[in-house]
């Protein structure tokens, strides 16, 4: 297995993302990559413009949901699909990141799926020495 990456979990009624990395930071970044790949083909998104993102939450679960909800909002509310995600600081209840993407161009960006929301359904965060894994399900 690669040291970091994500896989899309497809069940009849669900679509989930399982993401892993050497740190929780990497796993969170991979989860964001997975989310964007569900929405559109990431190869079509050019990382032209940087956007600062900071998220605060009341616990790590909410932090993960809010982080991914932020990426979803940038796409769905700001029409700004992202291709690159770097988290600079990650605490139990906050994170500071920079994401890179570009303005939505419907000629090049073809939506694969409308994601309605990031859910708490079977949400899981595992962190060990040199390894972290998160799992999250999306309402589609």
């Amino acid at each position: 297995m690669k040291s970091r990456g994500y896989e899309i979990l497809e069940h009849p009624a669900d679509l989930g993302i399982s993401a892993h990395g050497e740190s929780l930071q990497e796993a969170f970044e991979e989860a964001a990559r997975g989310l964007m790949a569900v929405i559109l083909d990431p190869a079509t998104i050019r990382p032209h413009r940087a956007m600062p993102v900071s998220v605060a939450a009341s616990d790590p679960q909410q932090l993960l949901v809010r982080w991914l909800s932020e990426i979803l909002y940038l796409y769905d509310g700001q029409r700004f699909p992202c291709a690159e995600f770097s988290i600079h600081e990650l605490g139990p209840t906050w994170l500071v990141a920079t994401v890179r993407g570009e303005d939505l161009d419907t000629a090049r960006h073809h939506t694969r799926l409308d994601v309605k929301a990031v859910t708490y359904h079977q949400l899981d965060i595992q962190e060990g020495a040199g390894h972290a894994r998160v799992r999250v399900f999306l309402d589609i």
Binding site: T106, D114, Y120, D139
Partner: protein, 302 residues
């Protein structure tokens, strides 16, 4: 285990799971029941039964299947004084629903035209996946949509007053308050008004292939072999964001009201609490967005 009351009613007794305050009840026949048992539906019905202040039973309709927190097809009634409201219970797709349009033609008349008709409908009605809708609204105008629902659409030329008489609640929930809807939700809604969406949303040309109740069918202007158009859509990103926002508001509020839930998607607060009342106003506003949305697509379909 289920306690089978009769062929169609299956009880989940309080003893099924710790914390259940009321029984669960699933409506299903012998074909549906195995499907319902195959996923987490039963546990979700039981989980809902742990919420405070519910009356009667935690119900699952025959279309029940696994959802988020509540199962899809899950129904629970809460006592107005003692009960709770759950944003996850209402769901991400606030006022997801259908409009059925009766077309004055029978299937034979349109037999060779289905494909061009579908192409035309596809051109006239934006799916909205990534595309901007056919209208773009300023902040104030969106607030009018949230406040007035389908009536806003009629006022702006999408249909006639007669349509309102055919929509539940006349296409408007009066308790809506646009101020209870976050700017993020409004951002998602701005470009999506008048769009269908993807996932389980669709627009179909259909045919009435069997009439079960002549009287009801004729009241709806339907007869055998008639062509209809069914539009299935909801409040789009605006409603999804309202749910996302209030799941967190309710989760944080639960500590204050000393409520705990077995599944975080069931986060809830007392109906009469400040958070509960504000959610209901935002929910009504999102519902109005959905009413306007379906009305616009109805107009374009015509």
């Amino acid at each position: 285990m289920f306690k089978h009351i009769d062929r169609y009613r299956h009880l989940i007794p309080k003893s099924y799971k710790a914390g259940m305050l009321i029984d669960g009840l699933v409506f299903a026949d012998e074909h549906l029941l195995p499907q319902i048992e195959a996923d987490q539906t039963k546990d979700q019905v039981a989980n809902v039964a742990t919420l405070p202040g519910l009356v009667g039973r935690s119900l699952a309709m025959p279309d029940a299947h696994q959802g988020y927190g509540f199962c899809i097809g899950g129904v629970a009634a809460a006592d107005l004084d003692e009960g709770v409201v759950s944003a996850g219970g209402v769901g991400f797709d606030i006022n997801c629903g259908v409009r059925l349009l009766s077309v004055p033609a029978d299937a034979r008349e349109v037999a060779g035209m289905i494909e061009p008709l579908i192409h035309q409908l596809f051109r006239d009605i934006p799916c909205g996946t990534g595309k901007k809708g056919a209208v773009s609204l300023g902040g104030r105008e969106l607030d009018s949509v949230l406040h007035d629902g389908a009536a806003w659409a009629i006022r702006n030329g999408y249909g006639t007053d007669e349509d309102l008489a055919r929509i539940e609640e006349h296409g408007r929930l009066e308790s809506a308050d646009p101020a209870a809807v976050s700017n993020r939700a409004k951002d998602r809604g701005h470009v999506q008004l008048g769009t269908l969406g993807s996932g389980n949303h669709f627009l179909e040309i259909q045919r009435v292939d069997e009439v079960y109740d002549e009287e009801v069918a004729s009241a709806f202007g339907l007869q055998h072999d008639q062509v209809t158009i069914l539009i299935h859509s909801g409040s789009r990103g605006l409603g999804h964001q309202v749910c996302t926002d209030y799941l967190d508001v309710m989760h944080d509020g639960m500590k204050r009201y000393k409520i705990s839930v077995v599944d975080r998607q069931l986060a809830c607060v007392p109906i009469g609490s400040q958070e509960g009342e504000r959610y209901l106003k935002a929910m009504a506003a999102a519902a109005n967005f959905a009413f306007a949305n379906r009305q616009m697509m109805t107009h374009w379909a015509r």
